[in-house]
């Protein structure tokens, strides 16, 4: 056991945990005022719920002893046998419980990510039910495939340093499935203006996400050494390159907006996630910049032409950003950075194919299961609030609260 590695992993876990409330503000600032608290509450309630489910059964499903490469068994239910000593399998220099805590924070934020697609109209009860089911049936298995010992995508040789497929592609495509079943917000079809209520909150959220992402990516080295340092600086560089690129894209079209720069930075963080510990620092610049371009035009297209109300563009940001990042990992990975991985620039074009396979498998599984879950809930408990509740706003109708009280 190494105290430096442990210190870093605990720090990283705290940083990643902060990302979920950060997301609450990032999303909360973009909706209309009457749904601000409701949007914040989605992330906050998921933070509470998934934290508990994770120690109960999530960890063992994702990382427990393998069943045919698909999922973990229930041997570690309630963290039985998981203790203060390092695991023999995962992160061998830190307490097993530190690894559990670190992974918990990933599970939480992944579940919270897709809520951006369904804000301003989903019933709170349905949101929680979907979240619990999705966590169990989608997140845990896919985490096992890629990161679990014996997982089939891991066996295949998929490179996913900190969650390009497990977290971002997964959340992005699921967001789309759920939004399709849920349907658009009232007024969306008529082009009703839906102004972001608080852009400073969006920036606050983006800043805390950026801050926390150092834990996400550099923490995924699981040790405090050169690899973590590499992941740290690629993360920062990609976020910056992407934020700057998005700002320039906005400027070309009209104005350099804060909302755009903040969005771009988040997309850059997404794109570097699978790559951070495999690629050299210079590669973070194209990874971030190209990620921004892809997400930007995807978002323009979604808003103008697709007719789908995937409200806060989780698919464009995380789905597309994660896909590009996973591909880019296959392109830019080099043994000069990480002995265990080589990509196209090392001449290993097969890695690109493996990455495509992993993306495709994740997309297919996550989309189908999410869509079925959403349909099932729609048919049973119903997904949407009543029209009247939607028009009054979810803060009042779902939570009996008003963001800013007093005359």
């Amino acid at each position: 056991m190494n105290s430096g590695d442990t210190a870093w992993l605990l720090t990283a876990s705290a940083l990643v945990l902060l990302m979920t409330p950060a997301l609450a503000f990032f999303y909360g600032g973009m909706v209309r005022r009457k749904n601000l608290l409701s949007t914040i509450m989605m992330s906050f309630a998921i933070l509470c719920m998934v934290s508990v489910l994770w120690v109960l059964y999530g960890y063992t499903l994702a990382f427990g002893p393998d069943i045919k490469g698909l999922v973990g068994n229930l041997a570690w239910f309630g963290l039985a046998g998981v203790g203060q000593q390092p695991s023999p399998i995962y992160a061998s220099t830190v307490p097993h419980l530190a690894f559990v805590a670190f992974q918990a924070t990933f599970a939480i934020i992944t579940v919270a990510l897709w809520t951006g697609a369904v804000v301003e109209r989903i019933k709170f009860g349905a949101l929680l039910a979907f979240a619990a089911l999705w966590f169990t049936l989608v997140y845990c298995p896919i985490a096992h495939w890629v990161w679990g010992s014996g997982g089939w995508l891991a066996q295949l040789g998929t490179l996913d340093f900190a969650g390009g497929t497990v977290v971002h592609v997964n959340a992005g495509i699921s967001a789309l499935a759920l939004a399709l079943v849920l349907g658009p917000r009232m007024g969306f079809k008529d082009g009703e203006t839906m102004e972001p209520n608080n852009i400073p909150y969006v920036v606050l959220g983006a800043a805390l996400l950026w801050f926390g992402w150092f834990g996400f990516n550099a923490g995924s080295a699981l040790t405090a050494g050169g690899l973590a340092a590499n992941a740290f600086i690629t993360t920062n560089t990609s976020a910056a390159a992407a934020g700057f690129t998005w700002m320039i894209l906005g400027w070309i079209h009209r104005r350099p907006s804060v909302l755009g720069a903040a969005t771009g930075a988040v997309v850059g963080l997404v794109a570097i996630t699978p790559a951070a510990g495999y690629v050299p620092v210079w590669a973070a610049i194209p990874i971030g910049a190209i990620g921004s371009v892809i997400s930007y035009y995807m978002m323009v297209w979604r808003a103008k032409s697709s007719g789908v109300d995937e409200s806060l563009d989780v698919f464009a940001c995380h789905g597309m950003g994660g896909t590009w990042g996973a591909l880019a990992t296959g392109i830019f990975a080099t043994t000069a950075v990480n002995a265990s991985a080589s990509g196209l620039i090392d001449g290993n074009w097969k890695q690109v194919l493996i990455q495509i396979a992993a993306i495709a498998a994740t997309m297919a599984y996550a989309f189908v299961v999410s869509w079925l879950l959403a349909k099932a809930l729609k048919a049973t408990m119903g997904l949407r609030v009543r029209e009247e509740e939607e028009s009054v706003g979810l803060d009042i109708s779902q939570h009996g609260e008003n963001a800013y009280g007093g005359i």
Partner: protein, 115 residues
């Protein structure tokens, strides 16, 4: 000239604005207000338990228009702001003696004409 002051539900503003727009009434001024009427306030959640709030968020629309346009506007607002539940709001009509457009210094009915 008259000034219509309509106090309506905030979530109906887009509706009312569009309905008036189709009458050709574009100029208007909107204010956030808080109101109390027959709808007696609502209960909100405190940390544990709840508390009552007397005043609810409303939106006030002010429109100055020529006397003859007034009735049509009133009817339109009534229809487009209505839900049938308490709290739909009130409309008041106030006399206006003069109106001046700052930019052109036009005044009277001329200056509030739609075009």
């Amino acid at each position: 000239m008259k000034k219509i002051e309509a106090i309506i539900r905030p979530e109906k503003l887009a509706n009312v604005k569009d309905a008036l727009g189709s009458l050709g009434i574009l100029g208007m001024t909107v204010t956030h207000v808080s109101g109390r009427g027959r709808q007696k306030g609502i209960a909100l959640q405190w940390r544990a338990g709840e508390y009552r709030v007397d005043f609810l968020p409303k939106v006030k629309i002010e429109i100055v228009l020529a006397d003859e346009e007034c009735q049509a506007a009133l009817d339109t607002i009534c229809v487009s702001a209505r839900t049938g539940r308490e709290g739909d709001g009130m409309i008041f009509v106030v006399p206006v003696e003069n109106a001046i457009r700052v930019r052109t210094q036009d005044n009277g009915e001329l200056c509030i004409a739609a075009k």
